[in-house]
Subunit: 219 residues, 2 copies
Amino acid sequence: MSTDLPAVSDSTIRRLSLYLRALEGLDDQAEPTVSSRRLAELAGTSAAQVRKDLSRFGSFGKRGLGYSVAPLQNHLRDILGLQRRWPVVLVGAGRIGSALFEYPYFRERGFEIVAVVDRDPAKVGRRWNGVKIQSVEALPTLVRECRAELGILAIPATDAQAAAEALVDAGVRGILNFAPVQLHLGSHVVVNDVNLTLEMEALSFALRTASELGSGEGG
Amino acid sequence: MSTDLPAVSDSTIRRLSLYLRALEGLDDQAEPTVSSRRLAELAGTSAAQVRKDLSRFGSFGKRGLGYSVAPLQNHLRDILGLQRRWPVVLVGAGRIGSALFEYPYFRERGFEIVAVVDRDPAKVGRRWNGVKIQSVEALPTLVRECRAELGILAIPATDAQAAAEALVDAGVRGILNFAPVQLHLGSHVVVNDVNLTLEMEALSFALRTASELGSGEGG
DNA sequence: GCCGTCTTGTGAAAATCTTCACAAATCAGG
DNA sequence: CCTGATTTGTGAAGATTTTCACAAGACGGC
């Protein structure tokens, strides 16, 4: 079934992912249906928000009853594009790259890291669970051979822009970027940044704010 | 309620972190001042947004000239709470925990992982660069001894809620959570989730959307 | 000093996102 | 069938965030 796709905000999509995760945590034998209120609790939002989010894509619930767990899971997978396998090319075989390669939840959702490249000649040639680490020069060929449309950048900031461009030139349209740098790519390419330092700084700000009761900066 | 710090949105704070990163990438010998337009380019937002964000905390710029790079860096560090050291307790010594422990940018910003715990007895006792991995039972003591207010959860979803509660009971007020589960904690605790699957799914959705719009190319 | 060119800081307007509130639909029980 | 207890889907209202637009300030050249 093809889903009609209106303009949907990024925050809605991110919540859909949380709904899916929450639904997968339910025992659909014991709990075959779920209300927007319950789903909201599980996902950390409000019932109205859940209904609004879902209603953008269709009427999946039944009044008086709620949403059937298994069908809703399928709808969400369909909306998010998870009803297929996504081959992924990983750039960078350092600590972060290694952790991502082993990350079990990617494969579970259809994201399969099918190729790994690294700049370091000492790493090239090693095998990770059957996948041979290759040289960055092989990147364009690899992307094309694997028909990868998704790439992950887990390399230093200095190399990220060039690597991103290489990925895009070879056909990648979506990038998960762990490098602490703003990538400048064509507007048809989607980039999601994972900025670990930023996350810690947001915590730091929140804690500082909380403890500064009664004293602040001069205005 | 804090007297001087206004209510500031999370998105503003996140952008401040990006501004700081962008400023650190500038050579302040060659470029002693920066305009809101330039900073916006570097951080991937608009000039008006930059000015609005900064103006919530003070008047840091000079009309006709822009912002002085070094002083603005200091203002941002001050706002974000980076003018101090933040001891951090890491829960989970698996792949992700290991990558985070080695992550160089944390220490650079004052976030120092001073203790590591793991549930696995086989890992307890090992040393990571001078830090001994300890049992989860030691967690409360460790948090208190280190005076850690920040914790990182890099453990399976099943263990995350209990570990989070242990952290909070021992005095932690901010948590960076890599476990794919919604934590339920007191409202005085700040939790930032890093949801890698969600990030990939957002890419998947975007790509699926783009291809389903037919042959038209994005501008 | 005066002029022209920049650039900030900021109210107001526009856009976006979230919550509210309620009609319509569903079910269980008698 | 009818009643009462639920719960969805959704316009409207409310809240928040972003963009606009411009007065006021700053600097260099002369």
